[in-house]
């Protein structure tokens, strides 16, 4: 044995050579620790508890006026647009981005569907496809600017929001296409508003679309390689790249999918309000971010479940309807939502401490 090796040995002996390789002991303890762990594993549990709690409380206060199939499905109808947009927002936020242009993409797509049909006489299904294509295209530009030009998502989508909204007003000449005209000439545009009832509960195609969309995305995020890559990119893009994930392709797919989903939301918006209005849906971006945050998806990316966003949107819907039925001032809704947002982020920070 050389002098050098001897030196190395001594170095180790001094440090206390440990024979067993990598012990993995559990240091978390107590009820609080267990709760923290549970929430860490199931991030959508908090919004689910809040949602169920809110329904129970309003149900007790309001009785059958609130706790009826009619009221429950009314909530679904009221949150469908925000729910669909929140699904798009969730994807972007999971990659540690943010999409402020979701509402603008939604409105612009609906305007394109309407104007292409009425101004140019294009068959409705083709006009709808054009609207969906434009939404996807805008998403692609967002994605490219974020992934290739490396601009912060906040800035890219802040700019894109203004650009699309301005284009929307310029192109539509601020004209609304009336509900009656659509109903008479292009009822396919209102397809998402089609109602059907199941035992006193009224569903619309839009509501079903929202639920199916969330289910499909939840599956894709959890059970496909693409979904794992979305989380990995949001967690640490450099690490993902080094592990062999195509970060550019993942980001492009997320922003394009987000654009496409927003365009679908635009179509659903026509079904919901009946008309095509360039001034509608102005709050969709803030409302979608609210749903995502209350739903427990981390704004820092890589954490959370898309089901949480659905719960988040529903919580807002339950509060809105419940407080209105109680006759409270609508401002109480905003006040409570504000509290929920802050509480949700505080819980997220607490859960993240597990990694410490």
């Amino acid at each position: 044995m050389s002098e050098a090796n001897q030196e190395a040995r001594e170095y180790d002996t001094a440090a206390g050579h440990v024979e067993s390789v990598a012990e993995f002991e559990d240091t978390r303890g107590g009820v609080l620790g267990k709760l923290q762990h549970l929430l860490h594993v199931n991030p959508s549990l908090v919004p689910l508890i809040v949602l169920v709690g809110a329904i129970v409380i309003f149900g007790l206060l309001l009785g059958s006026k609130f706790f009826s199939p009619f009221a429950m499905t009314l909530i679904l109808q009221q949150v469908q647009i925000v729910g669909i947009v929140a699904a798009a927002q969730s994807l972007v936020i999971l990659t540690a981005g943010i999409d402020l242009s979701v509402g603008a993409i939604m409105v612009f797509s609906s305007v394109i569907m309407g104007q292409f049909t009425f101004r140019y006489g294009i068959p409705v299904p083709v006009a709808v496809l054009c609207g969906l294509a434009v939404g996807t295209g805008i998403g692609a530009i967002n994605g490219w600017l974020v992934s290739r030009v490396k601009l912060p998502p906040f800035i890219v989508t802040l700019g894109m929001w203004q650009i699309i909204l301005a284009t929307n007003f310029l192109y539509s000449a601020n004209e609304t296409i009336r509900s009656q005209d659509i109903e008479a000439n292009a009822s396919f545009l209102q397809f998402f508003g089609t109602k059907f009832s199941v035992g006193g509960a009224t569903f619309t195609v839009g509501v079903m679309f929202m639920l199916i969309l969330i289910a499909v995305l939840a599956y894709s995020l959890k059970h496909t390689a693409w979904g794992r890559h979305v989380y990995a990119v949001g967690d640490d893009p450099e690490a993902a790249e080094l592990s062999g994930v195509n970060v550019h392709r993942t980001l492009m797919s997320v922003y394009m999918l987000s654009g496409l989903i927003c365009a679908f939301a635009g179509w659903a918006l026509i079904g919901r309000i009946g008309s095509v209005s360039p001034t509608s849906g102005q709050l969709a971006n803030i409302e979608s971010i609210t749903a995502v945050v209350i739903g427990g998806i981390s704004l820092f990316g890589g954490r959370g479940s898309i089901l949480g966003s659905l719960f988040g949107a529903l919580i807002v819907g339950v509060f809105t309807l419940g407080l209105r039925l109680l006759g409270a001032d609508a401002q109480w809704t905003f006040l409570l939502i504000g509290l929920l947002i802050i509480a949700a982020v505080a819980v997220d920070q607490w859960i993240r401490k597990v990694s410490g």
């Binding site: 050389s2 440090a15 390789v21 993995f24 390689a225 990995a232 690490a239 062999g244 597990v354």
Partner: protein
Amino acid sequence: MSEATPVVQGRGIVKRYGHVTAIDYSDFELRQREILAVIGDNGAGKSSIVKAICGATIPDEGEILIEGKKVNFSSPIDARNMGIEIVYQQLAMSPALSIADNMFMGREIRKQGFMGKYLRQLDRPAMERFAREKLTELGLMTVQSINQTVETLSGGQRQGVAVARAAAFATKFIIMDEPTAALGVKESRKVLELIQDVRARGIPIILISHNMPHVFEVADRIHVHRLGKRLCTIDPKDYTMSDAVAFMTGAKEPPTEDAA
């Protein structure tokens, strides 16, 4: 391939960035079944030469032969497809994902049949089984659950998973870039043991390290890099750590004949 063919051979590799020459006609050689340590002062270009070998940078001149065949990697993915794995100092893992997810990141296994082909469903049981097997082989299976997220592991445990991942997929060789730099003394020990375990399986390793005791403990040969090129290759049994440091810094002339 005969026993004598080096696993990697670099000849006259050059890499320039503007006026800066990061690699200056350097040679490189990794032999079969060895741990080759690469040492050098900061800025000597030891990372650059290793990056050139794994496709992270594309050299301006020179050639690289893997098992005697000339290769032209355009990205680390190319190298990875050939069975070359890299363990990074900063670990390259997604903390919020599970151990199994991390081991298969970028090379997931899909289910057979309809679920896998059309619904692209991952074969979780197969991935978990494989991950558990690989961790057990390296004596790391004191992990409570393979579905534990990586962030719940300590630094040493994470590095263990990274080494297990590399060992599981490497067929040619593994590059380890300062694998112990971010670790405490005890955890470094475990990782050094892992490195020797991996060598015992016949997979050669390139170990970039600043830590002389670690280098002298595990390396079979030491490649001393200075001023952008290979200065010499020494056998750790013939020299002391102070000699190695002296070669590295230019305080001492290198042996004229390649000792190893």
